[in-house]
Symmetry: C2
Subunit: 151 residues, 2 copies
């Protein structure tokens, strides 16, 4: 069971851009950091732009940034927006060839499982998963050192 | 997001065999009904046998049947047993190439979503999803007609 590569890339792109709130990120930079082709990064940036999570600035010195705070970017919404394929099993498809389609309850049970999966993602935003920046890591380290000294 | 083809085939095979409790089913019969290659049916039958859900009888007139009652074959257990790939996103893999591995919380959130998915399947057995047989469909039809006549 896997999410599509595009959903994976979209989540990684959002996390990376969320780490650089003070500047614009470029397509080539994201592609290099994540070892993804620029064509894929362009495609996923375009989709995230259409869905209102990324905004781009054109021209020299241009790039992309989050269009809203990380806490306003819900993970369930991102996966629903980007994932193109939720056909867990054959009978989810409108062109199902399964001889048992409409006769068994598998699709109903699988759909319930998928709803449980999405409901869990709905509980989290980009702010909950973004990697710790170097700056925040340093602050935490300083706090630990201070605590050790005072104890 | 899809389950592997083998998991799909395993569920369909179990449902078909559960519909024929009074006789043995053959590889070629399951392959024909579900339009799956015999090689795939053989592979999935072998796996289901190893996991203790199917038993086979060799020789002329041989075939397969359920090794236990449908109510004892849990759907979560079948998916866990057959599904070979639960790497929802890149960072689930032990060979992950993601630059953010171990720095972000995505894997933890995705793992929680996967547990919710499986917990839903754990609530159901093969008995809950098996297709209605012609006989039981007839019984239900008779009961409906009887109710209509008495109302």
């Amino acid at each position: 069971m896997r999410l599509t590569t595009m959903t994976d890339y979209a989540l990684r792109l959002l996390m990376y851009v969320a780490q650089q709130p003070e500047r614009l990120c470029t397509i080539s930079e994201v592609a290099r950091v994540h070892d993804i082709s620029e064509a894929h990064v362009m495609k996923v940036t375009h989709q995230l732009g259409l869905l209102g999570w990324i905004e781009t600035v054109r021209g020299k010195g241009g790039g992309m940034r989050l269009a809203r705070p990380p806490s306003d970017i819900n993970l369930g919404a991102v996966v629903r927006g980007i994932e193109s394929d939720f056909a867990l099993v054959e009978c989810f498809s409108t062109e199902s060839q399964c001889a048992l389609t409409n006769k068994c309850q598998l699709a109903k049970v699988m759909d319930g499982a998928l709803q449980s999966f999405m409901a869990h993602l709905d509980e989290f935003s980009l702010a909950d998963i973004r990697p710790r920046t170097n700056r925040s890591a340093l602050v935490i380290r300083r706090m630990t050192v201070k605590r050790e000294k005072t104890s």
